[in-house]
Structure formats: C-alpha cells, structure tokens
Symmetry: D2
Subunit: 160 residues, 4 copies
C-alpha cells in the first residue's frame, strides 16, 4: 500500500487504502475467511468459502453467514471515501441455498449517496454464477476519518 | 428430551423437541456460542456473548453476528410445529452498537402464520436491557417433517 | 388548537400541534379520507376506509393504499417533536387482504430515536381486529421546525 | 389485444394479455393516472405524473404514491405468466424527493422466480433521469389463472 498522504491519493488509491485499513481492523471478516477481491469508489467484491462451522441442518449455509458476507462487501463499498459510515438497516432476500464448500462472491454497488446516507445493493453468486441472495444496505456517515489513525501510526513507524 | 412419539406430544413438547433437534444439527449456531434459553410454539429466546472473533473496528460487534443471532432465534420460533420452514427474506435495523463482551438476548415472536408463509419479529437487547437491533423474518414452509429422521435414528439407537 | 407559543407547550400539546399542522398541509392524506384518531409523542393512530378507487382485481385494497395509510401514521408519529423528519426507507409485510369497505386502523409506535434517525413500527388492523399488514419506517431529521411557519402565519392572522 | 387462446400465445403475447387484463381490473392504478408503457415476461414500465392530490407539505409526492407506482409496476411484471401472484412483502428506499408535476417512470425487473415465490426490483426515475426511489417486492403464486375468466367472458361476448 501507498505511503502517500491521504490528500495526495487518487479516488482509487483512497478506496484501496480505506478498504485495506478496514480489513486489517475487522476480526470478524478475516476469521470468516473472507477475502477482499476488488475495491473501487463505491464498489467492492468479497469472497468466502462455506466452511463446516457455517452450516446448519442439511449442510446449507446459515443465513447469518450469507448476511455477514454481504454486510462486509457493503461496508467496504460505503467506506471508500475516507468518511467512516455505519449500517443503519439492511435487508436480505434468499433465492437459492448455499452449500458446504461453495465459493460465494458478493458484489457491492453504490446506488445513491447524498447528505449523510447512502444505499448499496449487494448480490451474492456461487461458483457457478447462480444468484444466491440479494442484499440491500443503508449507510450513515459518522464523524471522523478512516485513515487518520492509520496514517499517524505509519508516521510513527517511519521514525524507527 | 421426551421419548414420546411426535403424535403424542403437547404443542409445548413438540416445540421443545423441534428446537432441540434443530440446535443439534446447527453447527453455525452452536459454534457462535449461542444458547437456546426458551422456546414455545411460535416463540424463542436465544443468547450470545460478543466474542473477540465477532468484532470489527472500534470493538463493535459485526452486523453479521447480530443478524446471525436474530436469524437463529427466528429459525427456532418458526420451526416449532414440526413443519420445516426456511427464511425467504429478512430485515434488520440497528439501533445501538453491541460491544465486545456484551451478552445479547434475542426474543423472537410470531406475528402471523397462514398458508405456507409466516412473519416473525425479533428484538435484540443487551445485558442492560437496551434495544440493540430489530429484525423481521419471513418464513416459508417446505416439505417434510423436522422430527421424522430424528425419531428414526433414536429408534435405531434404542436397538443397541 | 392552542394559541400557546411552541416553547410553552407540553410534549402532548406539541405532538398534537405538529400533527394537526402536518395534516392541514397534506393533501394526499386528506384526499384518501384518512382521519387522525390520536397522537402523542412518538405515537399516532390513523384510520381509512377502503374506497372503490383504492381496489384492484377481486375488490382487494391496492397495496399502495395500505402502504400510504401506514406511511401517514408513521409520519404523524415521527413528527411529534417539532423537528421535521422524512422517511428514508420503509418495509411492509402483508398478512391478510383488506377488502372494499373495510375500516383500517394504523397504529404507529416509536421503537428508537437517537441522533438524526428513528425507527417506527406500524400495525394495520381491520374493523374485526385482524392484523392486515405490518410496516416499519426509518426516519431522518432534516433542518427547520414544523410549527415555525404555522406560528408565523397565525401571528399575521391575529393582527387582522 | 389478441383473440388467440392462451395456449397459442407466445410468452410476449401472454405477458401483454395478462398485463392488460390486470390493468382493466385495477381501479387504483387507473385512477392514479398510471399508464402501462411496456411489458414483457418478468418486466414492466409504468408511468405516473405527480398530481396535486398526491402531494404533502412542501409540494413533495407522498411516499404512499411513490410506493403505489412501484407496486403497480411490480404487479404487472410478476403477473406476466398467467399465474396469479400477490405481494407478500415490499421495501422502498427513498433517494430524492419527487415534486408536483414530475413524471415518474417505474421500471420493474425480475431477479428470481422459483417455486411459489419471486423477487423483483423496481427503480423509479424522474423526467430528468434522476433516481428517486428503489423498491423490492416479493411475490407469491396463488391458485387459478389470470386470463381464465377474461377469456371465458370474451367467448360469451363473441357469441353475441
């Protein structure tokens, strides 16, 4: 990742720096084995393989893990502007079951962003390209900056 | 748990037998440390402590785990009639953050049930009784029975 | 309605003054024949009879009119503090059909309110007390005051 | 409209015949001045001009009428297969206000359809192409046929 100051970054560099910082801090996303495949301003792609600890009866993925995957993709997409946002409400609609071993890809797209709120759609497909679930998230901008602390700690490190 | 046949159970016994059978099969719910505190026809109470692997930045619980808790309570509540149901759509609204170590209690209540579909509300409160999130789940009845296989395997075991 | 200044009103007087001002301005609600039955801080009850111009095939009420009824009850409930709020997202779940001539009562209840956003539940029942639909609305506080203009115009009138 | 029997229709002819039959029966949609601009299997486009009886304070369109527009587009799209379906749950997210005189276009797209349920997205844009609201509807197939009665009555008429 770039050592550029935040102000000197292009929108794409800023989106990547924010996403990587969020990923670093986010135990839940990392421990579920999710990988950040791509990010750009207002967009992200996150992947997760359905593990044994994620299934319920009939070896189908627990809805909570499908939701968590979509929710993480949503979080990466709406936090690409160095303005921290939180989810205030989400919906998920299940279309087809995800099974043990399936590789699920969540693609998040910004639909709107104005004032403090934004709307994001996330589609989850399996490894065969079949639509598994559709998610919608509403974001709310809170105070502060995502990279502030990260940049500060990098500067400290660069003094070593 | 009772060795009664399904037909001889009261609605309350049936609700408990179904919930315990689902819990037994459900890796995801057990591995998240959720405990089933109470169940009755159309209702359930499920508890979860926010662990280190469930938090994201700022030590707040990942939305996916709050969703998973509510989703499990919903599943126990809508599967109390020995008719297997699945979620077809859910919404969650976040009211206040849940923090590392918080003990979250999800209370699921049936709002309607007719034909193949049902509607359930789930409220999540923390250990101080503060409302953390509100969840709504829509259920859809599929074929089969929940306890069929379980009863069969018990009979096999009793032959040992 | 009271001629008291806004500052001198009790919360209940303020809730009533806001609701009546909103009702006065709201062509859509009035022309659908909705009546405001009760209001208090964070709560409202609104009633509507299903008319011939609200039905679709099979003489059932168009979902849009059931939504409009719930949405109006939501608006009255979240605008009881003299702080103008708008809806940013709503959900509705249909439980039973409403028929031509049915008298529908929507009861709105505040579930949370903090910062700029709030969450409100609205249940619609028919004249027999049967649950017809469940609505959830998320509010967002915008700038200004509800009664500001109203009070100004009253003062002008009182100069006559 | 075609005098063909239902069995002889192409999917496109069937979609058009179903939509026109629904439109004919639907007082609420017609009286709101909505026009059906296009229909094909799983899709529809519906248009509505914001009238004086649809606005609330500040001359903005009441959320109920935006919902009704989206809901009608959803109904036309999910009823294109001669299998009657009803809405069981819907969500709407408001992005920008619609004003008195605005011409709103709702475009409904099928996202999934299997078993008895389906999922449809509807976007509402204004005359300048700006996104105004996003709607999601879940459909449920009920018994019967849409064109059955219509065809029967046509046959009766053709005997005159």
């Amino acid at each position: 990742m770039s050592n550029k100051s935040v102000d000197a970054m292009t929108p794409q560099e800023l989106a990547e720096a924010c996403a990587h910082e969020l990923y670093r801090r986010d135990n839940a996303t990392r421990q579920a084995g999710m990988t950040l495949e791509a990010v750009e301003p207002g967009k992200s792609v996150v992947r997760m393989t359905v593990r044994d600890d994620m299934v319920q009866g009939h070896k189908t993925c627990h809805g909570g893990y499908m939701f968590a995957l979509a929710d993480s993709a949503f979080a990466f997409a709406c936090n690409t502007y160095n303005e921290p946002t939180v989810a205030i409400g989400c919906t998920i609609d299940y279309v087809a079951p995800a099974l043990l071993g399936d590789v699920l890809t969540a693609t998040a797209t910004e639909r709107s962003r104005s004032g403090r709120t934004g709307n994001y759609d996330v589609d989850i497909h399996n490894q065969e390209g079949r639509l598994i679930a559709m998610f919608h998230g509403k974001s709310y901008k809170v105070r502060g900056q995502i990279l502030e602390h990260a940049q500060a700690s990098k500067q400290e490190n660069s003094n070593d």
